[in-house]
Symmetry: C2
Subunit: 263 residues, 2 copies
Amino acid sequence: MFSVTILGNNSAVPAYERLPTSQLVNMDGQKFLVDCGEGTQLQLMRYKVKYSRISHIFISHLHGDHYFGLIGLINSFGLLNRQQDLYVFGPPPLKNIIELQLQVASTRLPFALHLKEIAKPGVLMESDDIEVSCFATDHRITCYGYSFCEKRVTRKREEAGGQPRRYAFCADTRYSEKLAEQVKRYDLIYHEATYLDDQREKAELRYHSTARQAALLAKKAEVKRLLLGHFSSQYEHLDQFEQEARAEFPNTDLAKQGVSYML
Amino acid sequence: MFSVTILGNNSAVPAYERLPTSQLVNMDGQKFLVDCGEGTQLQLMRYKVKYSRISHIFISHLHGDHYFGLIGLINSFGLLNRQQDLYVFGPPPLKNIIELQLQVASTRLPFALHLKEIAKPGVLMESDDIEVSCFATDHRITCYGYSFCEKRVTRKREEAGGQPRRYAFCADTRYSEKLAEQVKRYDLIYHEATYLDDQREKAELRYHSTARQAALLAKKAEVKRLLLGHFSSQYEHLDQFEQEARAEFPNTDLAKQGVSYML
């Protein structure tokens, strides 16, 4: 089992029941949380995700819609008497922000919290089966995408001629050819599509992408499948995002909250 | 119109659709937000509160379930292009926490944000009609309750023999006779009732109150009406809170999310 469950698919201000960015990556039972916008713990409860099993949290960047829910989740882990170590990765000064808030409440967590600030792209976590690494994206502030790669195929899939699978969360970014190289021939990528293409200039100015640009990136990278997310609150209906992207890259889906996408 | 709208009535970890503490006090159209747990902006949207009109936010203390939603709300005010000044009061180092998070995202707010750290109890805001002040409660860390007082009655109510009305949000606290003096003969108080009285010792240990203690406080203070909130996540059903409190103080209600209580 290798899946991505969408917890929040909106950008910036929540709207139309869409919450800010967060998603859960499940690789054979090992659970990773990617970004943690405000309300992520509520979404985990709503969708009945067994979130105590999250071992690592990866934060792409320090715009609020990607991490304001982190301190609340960590705090709740403490109140729920979590014992297992928790690893949190993100750009500086994430460690300061979290530690300051724990400190002022005199919070004593019952588990070991490892806050790891990312200094440069590279491998962050590796086991016999899995490798998680980060790569830079083209955004207004330091921002990392994350890739989740199988190192070998399970025996069952090997017999069926399967290859190790790869998923990338491409974070917030402008259209970037460098990024296309980074995720070349991945099985699945999640790429932001904050706007439709008629607002390409606005997207460029704000270091974001349009649905069409996300699709062009997927095409250039020759990935198998594309998930679109991080929709602007200015759009109530999202059908046009799907249409616009599919015109360039047919195997596109809108990332829907509460839905698990299988690799 | 003088009302209190409950946005969150739970303590600590959200549970059973109950969110952490937050409420909106409306005094003739002037809107004050009291506490701002994670998800407060979602609740404001859900209950269709015109939250752009909130002029002041009062934070009782820096336990996460009382303020983790503040940075998200401030950020959203910015993204929604708020112009009106915003005043935020709370204990130190609230200012540092908020400023650090705004700074790392290079956030430029389009409105003036006045972060006021409270050094001691006293009057915080005063107009011709309204006075808002804070008072210390008995909690594990520095914690303030807030009282909202009319300074005069509107002509219509004066003709009917009305008196200026007073509401107090008593924050997190142990049972405290000093607090009873503070809210003497108020029209309405909101008092925490984290536990039922069979867990009185646990309440004491954690600087919280039971439903019975909240009712005894209301009786001692001779207030007109009591609202109970800040329920522990260990309770799914709350009927016993109402029963236990009403045995001591009949004019008690459970603070329900999305409900406005009129003074």
